[in-house]
Subunit: 207 residues, 2 copies
Amino acid sequence: MSTREKILHTALELINDKGYVHVGVREIGRALKKSPGNISYHFSKKEDILIALLEQYRETNSALYEDYFAGQPSAHRFLELMKGIFDSQFRYRGVFIGNQFVKEEIQSGNRYDYRATYQQRLSGFTRIFRELRESKHLQVSDEDIEFLVAHIALVGRFWIYEATLFDKSPNQESTVKHYLDLLARQISLFATPLGAQDISEFRVSQE
Amino acid sequence: MSTREKILHTALELINDKGYVHVGVREIGRALKKSPGNISYHFSKKEDILIALLEQYRETNSALYEDYFAGQPSAHRFLELMKGIFDSQFRYRGVFIGNQFVKEEIQSGNRYDYRATYQQRLSGFTRIFRELRESKHLQVSDEDIEFLVAHIALVGRFWIYEATLFDKSPNQESTVKHYLDLLARQISLFATPLGAQDISEFRVSQE
DNA sequence: GCTTGCATTAGTACATTGTACTATATTTGA
DNA sequence: TCAAATATAGTACAATGTACTAATGCAAGC
């Protein structure tokens, strides 16, 4: 593992534990027995660490989406996809919660074009729901799809904020299960009998 | 207006504009032509400013809830309540977005018992939905109510994060309208014909 | 085997930040 | 009017992010 990777690994652990603001560059260095100047060498700004972690997260997720689109659309597989995404978000929770600091980066789009990724994800979900309509898992109008996409964009991004709001270190399994369950309920409001069966099978498989 | 109130007022403006982290105590002082030591006198910690603003927000909202519960339950009045809350959240948006810093406060509950307020709000929503069921505006099971409360707890808290994620200073009216609309759609999934009419009347009144 | 160039690391210095502390000024109340 | 409380200014200090410089390690080429 390269020093750069070690820094990212240690930083993520510390950030998940204590929050981005409360993790100093010197602290990361201390944990790795490196000087602060050396951390500076690999990541000239502290924000760069956050950006790099976001990038890792994005790549993980892209793989999950690719997997999904490689197979047949179904409500069950959709929920499996979302479980993968939620697990991944949990793993990078400190990054999301500390993302106030990358907001200007996000907004400027200089180093990391988050907006493009975001738009890509939104159209990905639109495609997913359209395919689930075609495969008779969902019974939705175009307006419904728009609504569901807006819903999943918000809930799918911010559930981890809520989960860590009162509980500093929540249990991953039960937390992810809880929010997946809410999502499953939301989807089932638009499900055909086929889709509903698929969803309930998924929920049983998560017991 | 007392100095304390002036500080809060100026701080909120600056925080909404630039974000909590990027507003220094000296900057607030400069804007008010006060020394940093004086700011320190009124708020010995910078976080205290955030806590005080949260307290202001909480009081505003408590008044809105009281108003609602003083009248007859209806889907229309419920959405009016939510509009009031959303407007208020928009006004304090910087506080919410910067609340990573009060998280430890929230979690410890030493100075500000946010958890209690939160629980109170949740049971408030439970009551609201139960009353809307009794008044034949909603057709919901107890499980549905639990689901709706979980939904509104998350969406109602974090829509403002999403709204300011890509757009640094979004338009209040259109933003609030957008998220109210999403909420109205969510509620209408469980609405009786009476409730649905109420909701569509509200949406028309917002045009 | 030695040197040259480049990547890495350490050490340090500096501006800025939150905050504590002290001294001065202003207001208040009896 | 004067003492006490409140408010304000000024400053000092530790900690932080970060820029800069010097030292070290290391692989490739002759």
